[in-house]
Symmetry: C2
Subunit: 346 residues, 2 copies
């Protein structure tokens, strides 16, 4: 059961709860905005439903630092390596992307690699910070291990998402925000609760073999990388997940592979991120380039659809429809999630 | 039927043939090296078997410029936009990556976007140029349209590959070089010739629906993006293909989507590329970072394998085994391909 709640109200509620755990008001606002943005964009799995397990409980157990000093450990020109000081993921990520944008304003192109962070919510939030300034935005992160490498039978890789945002003109930005696994683990959990089979392309059992039984994926098995098995090129998704981990985890000096801990683990998670920004005006007249992006989108929209389909969507459009709906009618939140938030406030 | 030929001999043969079409000797050497590298790495579809259709015929028909002036049309700091002047793809790409590496040597991080080029062979060749200098290398390109966007029923996107190379220490570099389609069109053609069905995840018929009939994919249909249909997250592969086209085609000022022409088309192809390079020493002590990459690779190798599999491979390893075999025993080339090359020389 879902209820609707005003976005501003939900943001204020989440902010107050976070501030009570010792977060400075500004940081609490940032984290609340990241979480509520996820709900508004229809990414419930990264929204306020995670406030307790991913953030509050870890703050209260001292597993996340409420007052991190996010500091550069290496800086040279347009590239910076930051230490997140085990701060709240959205706070560390927001400050990292701010640093990256400062460098990009000066140099035109910049990269920030961040170590010792935590789960940061939706990657699109940070890439869109770049797009809002007329820059191409890139955001990668590693995550706790859930994905089995091709030919293997153990979870070694995270769902390691890739996010790229490209500003357009008439159109909203192109925003690709995708995990490099076939599906999120949450989707397998939903099938398991309902006792429903899953497509054999989604995950493997404890022997690394495709299975349609969600319980076998959850207990001892794992997710397939994008592409599924070898025959359908799952090694490409595996390669992408590894590439993300190399950039965001290995080269940032953070944890990588199964060193990265999930939110239930009684140690710092050691999550690593990468942020990138590129000013459009370095490539040409920004108006001309935005117009080219618009025409690219127009031509995808003009693609004749499959019978029974309305048309071709461009990355980020589905999320934007959710966002508009949330602004007009309130954010969709599960009744029990909202009740728990309100109870939290007492 | 395959024969073995010495790599140096094959390179010299291809160089002489290319030089006769009017290419300067140095450019002919570069192009020959790119093609022979593909054969050595086991990527026959991008090797000397393409010399005639992709390169010689187009040079002879005046559709590729043998003497391109590859020039910067915009340069600011570490970012450059280059015009390939419709030169041979490998020549334009090699010079573009050289420019990118020069900028990266100076600035630590650099990007080169290249318009008005042609099919450049294997992306890994250029990304490995960066890795050979201790840099992370990135290479993207758009290609002729073969891939149907999710929910659509027309080929609009190329197989738009993504290549990332990361230098290691003891180990050879990590090299991911993957098309963003499930499979290359050549693999469907092989099944069609042999009258064999293909997995339904590979491609669609003229209505955009999955089919196991390779002829329906080839005639009026198209390839699925990595992931296959919507249910197995094909929209992620579609998003990646679109992201590559935006960066390499739209923002470089080149052709994009189905404006990009294939080698059989009687007009310049308008292919666009993107090259990136990042010096490891900007991120930390390069020896420490290379050691971290080594340990990342070691831990993937240590993953327990599926029953019946030898072990987990890391991106680039399969190609390296081919390369070592080719160095030891000669490059594997189809007998008729070698015969045609020798006949060409007269």
């Amino acid at each position: 059961m879902y209820v609707r709640v005003d976005a501003g109200e939900l943001r204020a509620l989440a902010t107050r709860i976070l501030a009570r755990t010792g977060l400075p008001d500004g940081d609490a606002q940032v984290a609340a905005d990241v979480l509520v943005s996820a709900d508004m964009r229809g990414i419930e799995s990264h929204g306020v439903s995670r406030l307790h397990s991913y953030y509050l409980e870890r703050l209260r157990r001292g597993l996340i630092n409420p007052l991190p000093k996010v500091r550069p450990v290496r800086r040279s020109g347009a590239v910076v390596v930051l230490d997140g000081d085990n701060g709240l993921g959205p706070v560390v990520a927001y400050r990292s992307m701010e640093t990256c944008l400062e460098l990009a304003r000066e140099h035109g192109l910049a990269l920030a690699l961040t170590r010792s962070s935590n789960h940061f919510g939706i990657a699109a939030y940070y890439a869109l910070m770049a797009a809002a300034e007329g820059m191409v935005g890139l955001c990668l992160t590693n995550t706790q291990p859930l994905v089995i490498p091709t030919f293997g039978r153990r979870r070694l890789l995270g769902t390691n998402p890739i996010c790229l945002a490209v500003p357009a003109g008439r159109h909203p930005p192109f925003v690709l925000d995708m995990a490099t696994s076939v599906v999120p683990i949450g989707r397998v959990e939903v099938h398991a609760r309902r006792g429903r089979a899953v497509p054999r392309a989604w995950g493997a059992d404890a022997d690394g073999r495709p299975t349609s039984d969600p319980d076998r994926i959850l207990r001892g098995g794992g997710l397939f990388p994008l592409g599924g098995t070898e025959r359908t090129s799952g090694y490409k998704g595996y390669g992408l997940a590894a590439a993300v981990d190399l950039l965001a985890g290995v080269l940032s000096g953070s944890a990588y592979l199964d060193e990265v801990k999930g939110p239930g683990h009684p140690e710092p998670c050691g999550v690593g991120h990468l942020f990138g920004a590129l000013r459009l005006d370095l490539l040409g007249d920004p108006e001309v380039l935005r117009d080219r992006v618009d025409r690219f989108i127009d031509r995808l929209h003009a693609c004749p659809p499959q019978p029974g389909r309305k048309g071709v969507l461009v990355a980020g459009e589905k999320e934007l429809l959710h966002e508009r709906d949330a602004l007009a009618h309130g954010v969709r939140v599960r009744r029990e999630v909202l009740a728990r938030l309100r109870a939290e406030e007492g």
